[in-house]
Symmetry: C2
Subunit: 215 residues, 2 copies
């Protein structure tokens, strides 16, 4: 059949439509029928031919998102004009910017009310995400810009605290109390020799997480 | 029937037998039949008359355990010879001692591999446990022994980091790397004006969490 001649084109269209709907309506409120309606020329069966469930669509989007984040990190890591600390700040600044792919992550947050989704995310934040930050911190240790005795601990804490402790869905907070929380992280990270949060990044991080609450 | 004349006596016997078995065999490997066998004079039906499931027995043990922890806190809070910092250290020292009730908590740790149990515990560590630590920290702020601008943040971090980040089941660690992690918490808490971890408490905390791994 013609529509299966280029399955990767169909899959990309499904993923883009689903991503747009997850951003607009949230993950939980989006149905496979909504994706059918948005695309206009595919049946529900055709979508299930490519993805066994709505969750499978999100999994594919997440792994693409992770590839994208790793790609950004690799680009920044390759720059020879930046210290480790500069790179850590640059990458963290991207992590708290209102990019399209961060908006998608944000739209998927209500999923964390589901225990299985929460357990999966905790595992990701605990086991995988620290490995994303660690090479940058280690470069900073080597070039002297991040004078820490705690590179692994810092990587684990950045992953855990900025993804779990800063989320207002877990720890409800006004914008002012979120800023106080970010300042607390900044003071603690500086104390262990990882001064990633300057005043500008404190404000940007606060604004980013505060925007989650009003959604 | 005679055995129901004093249901609280029967319930206490069931709870004590279950607690002993959870400590000896672990929660997952204990069956209701094991509890029947241990007690000798009660049928499985009689146990289900008092508790609808093994999980209900654990829930009751946990709430009794929490009442016990709150009782200890209230006793320590009532002492007029101690500063807030002394009280925080005294209570944290009890929290990392090999008491009977800590052994029970430890025996129940494999439950956290279950997503629903993990989600329940994360909620407890996030929403409830900080309220346990906060009044002590606030007293330390008032009497000058805990010179922090971050009392709530410190209560949340103690609850999250010492219950999640220090557990080797989530973040595998040798005894040496656990000590390094506790030293990292000590440095960060001191930096925000909450110098709860002195050298003695660093060693005791390390030994306590390191013992979890070999079980």
């Amino acid at each position: 059949m013609a529509r299966n001649a280029h399955p990767e084109v169909t899959e990309r269209r499904i993923l883009e439509a689903a991503r747009d709907l997850f951003v607009e309506k949230g993950y939980e409120k989006t149905t496979v029928q909504n994706i059918v309606d948005r695309l206009g020329d595919l049946s529900k069966g055709a979508i299930y031919h490519h993805f066994k469930s709505k969750e499978a669509i999100l999994d594919r989007l997440n792994s693409a998102d992770w590839d994208y984040s790793q790609g950004l990190r690799d680009q920044i890591m390759a720059r020879e004009d930046l210290t480790g600390l500069d790179k850590l700040r640059a990458l963290f600044t991207l992590a708290v910017s209102n990019t399209e792919h961060n908006k998608l992550n944000q739209a998927a947050l209500p999923m964390l009310n589901d225990p299985v989704c929460l357990a999966n995310n905790m595992h990701f934040w605990t086991a995988d995400l620290p490995e994303h930050w660690l090479p940058i911190i280690e470069q900073g240790v080597a070039d002297g810009s991040i004078p820490t005795e705690y590179p692994r601990e810092a990587a684990e804490l950045i992953a855990l605290l900025t993804n779990y402790w800063l989320l207002p869905m877990f720890y409800p907070a006004s914008s002012a109390s979120l800023r106080h929380r970010v300042q607390c992280i900044a003071a603690m990270m500086s104390a262990i020799g990882v001064p990633v949060f300057d005043d500008k990044l404190i404000e940007q991080t606060t604004d980013f997480y505060a925007s989650f609450d009003s959604e």
